[in-house]
Amino acid sequence: MSGLVLEAVSAHYGDVQALWDVSLSVAPGRLVTLLGANGAGKTTTLRTICGQVKASAGTVRYDGREITRCEVHEVADLGITLVPEGRQLFPQMTVEENLLVGSYLPRTRANRKRNLSRVYDLFPRLAERRSQRAETLSGGEQQMLAIGRGLMQEPHLIMFDEPSLGLAPILVREIFGIIRELHRQGLTIFLVEQNVHHAIRVADYCYVIENGRVVREGAPLDLEADPAIRQAYLGL
């Protein structure tokens, strides 16, 4: 099967097991979300996919190829991009330099100029601030820069880790609007969120993770109708 497939993946931090037999898949062109509370294992799942954490059991496949033991930079070269939690920008670089690091990979360097102007079209604020240091940006601008930097990598699959965290409601709507737009343009998206209200509305398919285990999956409408989910995650 093409796309991203996790089969019974477990992961540890030292002696502490963080993921237990996580299985999920993200088919090409879809927008899949992983929902869960703080500490449920959402970020660990993403870190395991991109090679920052090595799975202690199970396999991670991308387009049929096993990537479980791949190094972080190798996964990035396959077209899997993570827009990490907390932006993780290069603070003392300018906005433009941050974007240029995004096109460090040789396969994207030839298109650097074109990609740069695309990102600036998508986020005019970044164009205005192109020579400003990243650490001087506001939270929303930093999130835009993190997304823009990810797009410079020409991803086939882009993963977002809590993109709405710490943003004002109006910016949250803007970020989700952009994610929806990227999806509409055909990008495969794996979205990890605590903000279930928004995430469930943009998703094609949802997984729910609790204590390192996938406990529920289904179409957004099914999940929204589930009384347990409504109570635990939607506060209804």
Binding site: M93, Y104, R109
Partner: protein, 317 residues
């Protein structure tokens, strides 16, 4: 301005016929010597600072790379008869390769599941330093040598208002060399994709990996460049002063001083810290007791760190 070819480098003309007191007569020379030698300290500390900034390795072997480079220059000169300054690119190439090959070993020692990588790196490079020094003493012996260049015997004299300074041509070369290396490194870091990757690694290691940057390969190149520049600087030092198998320790201490003063891993502060070190050393040599120069240098470092714990020039982290 006139030129004297026979003058011994560093000899200060003491002109007693002017109105200027002797101690004041020595000041311009001391300041100039300090700035010129401070230039060389830039190249001693640049690679050290870069290695710390990118890999968090405190490289206690830096002085030994200087020593090994100096001896390679010494033997190459004896075999080829070429001027040591013409051999600098060869020494750089050889030791960049050495550093590139050795870095993965250091990486293995300091990474993975080790509890305190910075301390592990310190202990490991300390061991490396002792091993190289021991081998150096065995192979090269205890004697001091010099690597004379055609420039070593030349000096410029400058005179203004009854004050004289001597500028040994080889020290002037050392200064220009250091500024040149600094400029090239600055250009590489600011204007190339390799430089972008190096800065990305220094600023956010995890994010750099996500951008497809191979931390190990870049780390090997950084350590290679550090070792190459240090070794090349060894040859320059050898044609200014003298070389011996035990010379490394002093330069490790000086590199450490410059990098702490500049702010650990903060490259832009290195030149200023190096000039300050050169000046302090040179002034203390003239106006203080030469036996206590290093003590004075570190007393000053201590006082500065009391006031500004992150070093004089570090901005932010």
């Amino acid at each position: 301005m006139r030129r004297g070819d026979e003058t011994e480098p560093g000899l200060r003309p003491r002109q007693l016929f002017t109105e200027v007191p002797v101690l004041w007569q020595l000041l311009p020379q001391a300041v100039l010597d300090g700035l010129l030698i401070g230039g060389v300290y830039i190249t001693v500390a640049l690679g050290f600072s870069l290695a710390f900034g990118v890999m968090h390795i405190i490289d206690f072997a830096v002085g030994e790379w200087i020593m090994l480079g100096a001896f390679l220059g010494y033997y190459l000169q004896r075999w080829t008869g070429l001027d040591p300054l013409a051999l600098l690119p060869v020494v750089f190439a050889v030791f960049t390769a050495v550093g590139y090959v050795i870095q993965p070993v250091i990486h293995r020692a300091v990474s993975g599941r080790r509890g305190n990588p910075v301390l592990m790196g310190l202990v490991f490079t300390f061991g490396l330093m002792l091993a190289i020094r021991g081998a150096g003493l065995t192979v090269f012996g205890f004697f001091s040598h010099s690597i004379p260049s055609a420039l070593s015997a030349r000096s410029l004299f400058l005179e203004a208002g009854g004050l004289f300074v001597t500028v040994p041509a080889i020290r002037l070369f050392g200064f220009v060399y250091a500024i040149g290396i600094t400029a090239v490194l600055h250009w590489v870091l600011r204007r190339t994709d390799f430089g972008l990757a190096v800065r990305a690694l220094a600023q956010n290691r995890d994010a750099a990996g996500l951008m497809g940057i191979n931390a190990r390969r870049i780390g090997s190149w950084v350590y290679g460049i550090h070792v190459g520049v240090s070794a090349m600087t060894g040859v320059v030092i050898g044609s200014i002063f003298s070389i011996s198998a035990q010379m490394g320790g002093d330069y490790t201490i000086l590199a450490f001083f410059v990098v702490v003063l500049a702010g650990m891993g903060y490259l832009a502060g290195v030149p200023w810290a190096a000039f300050l070190l050169g000046l302090v050393q040179s002034l203390f040599l003239v106006y203080g007791n030469p036996s206590y120069t290093l003590l004075a240098v570190f007393a000053i470092l201590y006082l500065i760190l009391l006031v500004s714990p992150k070093g004089l020039f570090a901005k932010g982290v």
